[in-house]
Amino acid sequence: MDSALASERAVYLPGTVRTAVKLLVVGHFAVGKTTFVGSLSEIRPLRTEETMTQAGALVDDLAGSERKTTTTVAMDFGRLTLSDSLVLYLFGTPGQLRFTRLWKDMTQGAMGALVLADTRRLEQSFPVMSVLEEQGLPYAVAVNRFEGAPVFAEEEIREALDLLPETPLVVCDARNRISSTRALISLVQYLQSLHTRTPQENV
């Protein structure tokens, strides 16, 4: 697969597309980010990696004598062409990338984020929610339902995650395209309400 020419694997955008927007899909390890992006994307999801020093700076001298601790950070992303002129990109990424250039690249210009959560470990969602709050990036929360995971009432989850009353909370199955689309719709409706402050008018 990888030996095929990139130009043969590439799925190009319609020539009429003029605007590209992006939303983030974030959450802790194994919460379903890659699955979610894959369910929605019209292209086979792509992945890109960046090598960082431990401090988060880009490695600037791979051949240097000085030994640096390096890590590889990755994000995967997908694409949805929404109209003749508009394309939406979804970037799926763990939150601990916060000090990396890749995180900056992803959040810059992003309209908002969908936080995926797992009821078996809700507390693991806190770090990424804090990062989004620090950066002023609005978000909605989607509980990704895993078999055998405890089912809580919405109020209990809101309380456990310490959500603001206006933060949308939905349940989704990241493996299902319709369910995942609905979760994104909840996020976008919320983003719209932040602008208009009269959400009812736009529903």
């Binding site: 590209a20 292209i43 792509l46 001298d61 992803m106 719709i185």
Partner: protein
């Protein structure tokens, strides 16, 4: 390209970009759409830039997709694209400036597009 060239980890970013970590311009967003100019000669381009051109001659893609298909880090991809813009090989279509299209209108279009997929 020689066999194995595309294997992850074999691309040495700072060889590819002549040691530069930053692009000549700072105009690339992950979702900046790029297109190759079909009439520009490819002679004299490095293999990596030629790879970018071969990919982008097929149509418009975002910076993130170029990085993904070529299996290059985003930072390296931006350097290559910056040079190719400077030399007239690549043109960009940046995300529409907010002033030109109100975010509310954009959000409505996103919403309409998502609902149409249900």
């Amino acid at each position: 390209m020689s066999p194995g060239r595309r294997e992850r980890g074999l691309v040495r970013p700072y060889v590819v970009t002549d040691g530069r970590a930053y692009p000549t311009r700072n105009t690339f967003d992950l979702v900046t759409l790029v297109m190759a100019h079909p009439d520009r000669p490819l002679a004299g381009l490095s293999p990596e830039k030629r790879g970018v051109m071969e990919l982008c001659l097929g149509g418009a893609l975002s910076v993130a997709e170029v990085a993904g298909y070529l299996e290059l880090p985003v930072s390296v991809t931006k350097v290559l694209l910056g040079d190719l813009v400077d030399s007239g090989h690549i043109t960009t279509r940046s995300p529409i400036p907010p002033a030109e299209l109100p975010e509310t209108q954009l959000l409505q279009e996103v919403l309409d597009g998502l609902r149409a997929r249900l």
